[in-house]
């Protein structure tokens, strides 16, 4: 059992770590360009560990926006993880203390991997921890490298490598979508909702768009026929 948790952790952690690396390097470079020290950018990756919020924060720092406003924007953008942790807290079967530690490594990616119902094996807490630590180490290493060697790395190239995370999401979605049309429909409707919301309300934070699409479209999903049995 322990062995299978190890295998689960490594095999699911590897694609996330690969996907994170170029994104973290890009973040390190951009942080460096907005005047942050290597220690500060790496520290942000270590203690904040919230991809999109970190990019937003260095942009706001570069624009000279105040500390409180940046913190508020971070809260808004990251509040989606409240929904994700709610799902994981019920699925992972951990004690409060274990949960308090594991929750630090809940990201969009670790959430999706650990919560897909079509996954062959249920995630064990140990498996989740290994996957999450691989992702975290990749994020830290990439940030440090990007900050350290900012002048040597062409940012446009590494930035494009961020496609890896989208490939990860797509590769995770396809098998479940093939298995249950309800999940395919919900994902497609949610994508369209997110797109529509961001077009109609350009001022709306990405975080709210994701929250609104997730809550709204999931509610509609419960009305689909056959939604009871799929679990």
């Amino acid at each position: 059992m322990r062995r299978s948790a190890l295998r689960w952790g490594f095999s699911n952690g590897l694609p996330i770590a690969l996907g994170y690396l170029p994104v973290a390097v890009t973040f390190g470079i951009l942080g460096n360009q907005s005047g942050l020290s290597v220690a500060a950018v790496t520290g942000m990756s270590a203690w904040v560990y919230a991809g999109a919020s970190q990019f937003l924060a260095v942009k706001m720092i570069a624009d000279g926006i105040g500390t409180l406003e940046i913190i508020l924007a971070t809260l808004i953008l990251n509040f989606r993880h409240f929904l994700m942790s709610t799902v994981l807290a019920r699925r992972l079967g951990v004690s409060r203390l274990e949960g308090a530690a594991l929750s630090y490594w809940v990201t969009d990616e670790t959430f999706v991997v650990a919560s897909l119902h079509a996954a062959a094996e249920e995630p064990k807490p140990l498996g989740f921890l290994i996957m999450a630590l691989m992702a975290y180490l990749s994020w830290l290493t990439g940030t440090f490298a990007g900050g350290m060697f900012a002048e040597l790395i062409p940012v446009r190239i590494v930035d494009g490598m961020g496609i890896g995370l989208y490939a990860l999401f797509i590769a995770l979605l396809v098998p479940s979508a093939r298995k249950h049309w309800q999940f395919a429909l919900v994902a497609a409707a949610s994508a369209l909702t997110a797109w529509g919301l961001s077009r109609l309300l350009p001022g709306l934070s990405e975080g709210w768009v994701l929250i609104a699409a997730t809550l709204g479209v999931s509610a509609l999903g419960t009305l689909l026929p056959g939604a009871e049995e799929e679990s």
Partner: protein, 101 residues
């Protein structure tokens, strides 16, 4: 000042992730809420992929979308997600410097 910012950002990112693990863990939720939660990962995935993918490769939405479609096609045949991630990155690296997009 930067360290104050990091401390504040730490709190506002960690607390929303932490709270459900403290309180929602064993909560007896009504059946409809449990059904609702079941769809969260799929709805979140949809909204995480699109429209964000269009801006994944700076200035090249067609290339980004193409790499996404390729990833979807590969996912029909390949179960190994790492392979698909590497493939999509390789395609973007190969074609990024062509001006036809």
């Amino acid at each position: 000042m930067i360290w104050l910012l990091l401390g504040g950002m730490f709190l506002v990112t960690y607390i929303p992730r932490l709270l459900p693990f403290l309180f929602a863990r064993e909560l007896d939720l009504p059946v409809w809420v449990q059904k609702w939660l079941k769809f969260f990962p799929y709805a979140a995935l949809g909204a995480l992929i699109f429209p964000g993918i269009l801006t994944a490769v700076p200035g090249k939405p067609v290339l980004a979308a193409g790499a996404g479609i390729l990833a979807a096609l590969c996912a029909l045949f390949i179960r190994n997600i790492t392979v698909i991630v590497v493939l999509a990155i390789a395609v973007v690296l190969l074609f990024q410097n062509l001006s036809i997009w």
